[in-house]
């Protein structure tokens, strides 16, 4: 967990613990502060931010650690979401418990990851990207059309009235009564998601420092050298795909239970691209960066909703429909961040050094190495 802190702070033990305690307190109080300051909608947005942190960390395993460009990540998210929706809703009259379906969703999504990975992993860079993209689209088209002749997914209408998450027999969406204080539905979900996010971060950190994690990075940096070092690249890449897919599957199950409704519209290519943008924008392969990217890209479009009132106060009228302008500004934001920080908002210290070396003649050589490595 130490790597979450800036390097300069790591040496002072007390400071480290104080930071952790402050962070923990802030995370615990956050939904109440946000609720009081900005309203209940924003607590819901916080929940989504946590969900996206989990998804981005999952994709980060594939893209950031193993260096495999996956443009169809949303397929695994969809698999998890629909698995839960089908097995816990009035659609088939099945109501399996959430805590059984969550690991099942992870396992099935992981299986799909292997299914996609096995034949395609020997493809190089962009070819892999387009195949994963095609896979994502295939899954979405099936979800859209599997309502005839046997109605499995209920087609474009999606599946409604999905069972909420139950904790100790109580549905989380109705809120929790803890005696001294009552948590509303979105608050209760916040704490559940926070717990799971912390667990995800823990798993991601442990994976990163494990033998497997180092093998992933070795493959990313130089596949031929990795083979020479005795790494079974095919299996290790497959593992990256399956692992990433499992995170996606869990995220999908949570999404479906939290929303109470799923439809193919939530699983478009744009969604894959958004999650990829979170990883790249935050700082590929660097866990704190990816978390930052996920939170930033979830909050930014929501913050941009305020441009309507802002126009009102600046010009006295709403010049351009704010919902149109919102995504326009979002796109510009993506471009600008990448132009000024191509390595991401918070890259790993090593990567930042590679891209901004201090001495100019080292710079030339390293730039060339990097250029070669990225081909």
């Amino acid at each position: 967990m130490l790597s979450l802190l800036p390097e300069s702070l790591r040496h002072d033990r007390r400071l480290v613990w104080a930071t952790y305690a402050g962070l923990a307190l802030l995370l615990c109080l956050l939904p109440f502060l946000v609720d009081a300051g900005m309203g209940r909608t924003w607590v819901r947005i916080l929940d989504f931010a946590l969900l996206y942190v989990m998804l981005a960390l999952g994709l980060n395993i594939v893209v950031g650690f193993a260096g495999l460009l996956d443009l169809g990540y949303v397929a695994f998210y969809a698999v998890g979401a629909y698995l839960y929706a089908i097995l816990a809703s009035p659609h088939f009259g099945l109501h399996l418990p959430f805590w059984v379906l969550l690991p099942l969703g992870a396992a099935i999504a992981g299986l799909f990851g292997m299914l996609l990975g096995a034949p395609t992993l020997r493809l190089r860079g962009d070819y892999l990207a387009i195949v994963t993209l095609g896979f994502g689209e295939i899954i979405r088209i099936f979800l859209n059309n599997l309502n005839a002749p046997v109605n499995i997914t209920n087609g474009p209408q999606g599946i409604n009235l999905i069972d909420p998450i139950q904790v100790a027999g109580l549905p989380l969406s109705k809120g929790l009564d803890l005696g001294i204080l009552t948590l509303s539905g979105v608050h209760a979900h916040y704490y559940l998601f926070l717990t799971l996010t912390l667990l995800t971060i823990f798993i991601a950190l442990r994976l990163q420092d494990s033998r497997i994690g180092r093998a992933w990075v070795a493959i990313r940096e130089d596949e031929v050298a990795a083979v020479a070092m005795g790494i079974n690249t095919r299996n290790i890449k497959l593992l990256a795909f399956a692992m990433g897919a499992m995170f996606g599957g869990v995220g999908g199950g949570l999404f479906s239970a939290f929303q109470g409704f799923v439809s193919p519209e939530s699983f478009t290519l744009m969604e894959s691209i958004m999650i990829l943008s979170m990883v790249v924008l935050g700082g590929m392969g660097h866990i704190p960066g990816v978390i930052l990217g996920a939170v930033a890209l979830t909050l930014l479009p929501e913050l941009l909703r305020y441009i309507g009132p802002l126009q009102q106060s600046l010009f006295g009228r709403v010049a351009v429909d704010p919902s149109d302008l919102r995504m326009l500004l979002f796109g510009m934001g993506l471009v600008l961040v990448m132009l000024f920080r191509p390595e991401g908002l918070w890259p790993s210290p090593k990567r930042a050094r590679e891209l901004h070396p201090d001495s100019p003649d080292v710079s030339r050589q390293e730039q060339e190495d990097l250029y070669d490595a990225s081909r």
Binding site: I138, D324, M327, G331
Partner: protein, 307 residues
């Protein structure tokens, strides 16, 4: 039999449109190894600009074909400027950056263009005005309209023009040299920046033409039309072997034929289990199959991992 022929003809027409768009992807990829995600939106801009010009010319009483030519030329000019600006602003500063950075800016540009088009032209579908008299020809039991013939003719001309440009002209030679090795090309006196800019401009011009033809073919234009089109065209480029110009044409035509045959026969093949709305699956399914057996596409070079 005539249904089969009809489906093949439809596929060729659709395929020549895909091919025209795929050329834009493949040229940029060949030189920069960059997936220019914004190219689909360039096609959309071309279509919508042309439709706007046609709407503006509606009262002038000019003959239909003349109006179409004017609209196409304006669309080409707008798209060429747009392509140039995109390269200059979003890609050139990132040429030495990690390779996913330009991919994200490409996505950003594509979001910007789409929403800009939505603000300018609104969310509704824009109809292609009835400026051309549609004539239907019979051909061995299949039918083809004059608009469809026009599409095939223009697409073929565009492709031949591009091949001549790349293989015969001085600029083309510079482009091929830059694609092979940018640094060495620079040492040989090629102005690499100019060549890359020219590549974007040419690709965008072809994209604009494709946009006009597509809106004429379907009879409509829409701010979101570029996305799925770009996706299909990129698939076509990969299918043929990305970076390879004849490959893009082959991939486009194949994709068009596969799609139209797939849509026509999938119901019979699966005993009515899967209907024609699975059309898009065919494209991706074939793509995955081809790449499994020929990982560099149909006409792509077999490259070693570290060439």
């Amino acid at each position: 039999m005539d249904i089969l022929l009809q489906q093949i003809i439809n596929g060729l027409i659709l395929g020549s449109l895909y091919a025209l768009v795929a050329l834009g992807y493949t040229m940029v990829y060949g030189i920069l190894e960059l997936i220019n995600f914004a190219h689909g939106e360039i096609v959309m801009v071309g279509a919508l600009v042309a439709l706007a010009v046609l709407a503006g010319l509606a009262g002038t009483g000019l003959p239909g074909p003349v109006m179409l030519v004017i609209a196409t030329l304006v669309a080409m000019a707008v798209c060429m400027v747009a392509g140039l600006l995109i390269e200059r602003i979003a890609y050139r500063p990132l040429r030495t950056a990690p390779r996913l950075a330009p991919l994200i800016t490409a996505i950003g540009v594509s979001i910007v263009l789409q929403n800009l088009a939505m603000i300018i032209w609104g969310r509704q579908y824009i109809a292609f005005p009835p400026i051309l008299d549609i004539q239907i020809y019979e051909l061995a039991g299949a039918t083809i309209t004059n608009i469809q013939l026009l599409i095939v003719a223009v697409a073929t001309l565009g492709m031949i023009g591009l091949v001549l440009l790349v293989n015969r002209s001085r600029l083309g030679r510079a482009m091929r040299a830059t694609a092979q090795n940018r640094d060495v090309a620079g040492l040989m006196g090629v102005d690499v920046n100019r060549v890359i800019a020219a590549t974007f401009v040419i690709g965008s011009a072809l994209g604009a033409v494709a946009g006009v033809l597509i809106s004429a073919y379907y009879g409509i234009g829409h701010y979101a039309m570029g996305f799925i089109l770009g996706l299909k065209a990129f698939t076509a480029a990969v299918l043929g072997g990305i970076g390879n110009i004849p490959g893009a044409v082959l991939g486009g035509l194949l994709l068009g034929i596969i799609e139209s045959l797939g849509a026509g026969y999938i119901g019979d093949l699966t005993g009515g289990f899967l209907g024609s709305h699975y059309q898009d699956i065919f494209a991706f399914f074939i793509l995955i199959l081809v790449l499994i057996f020929r990982p560099s596409g149909l006409l792509g070079e077999q490259v070693a991992d570290r060439a």
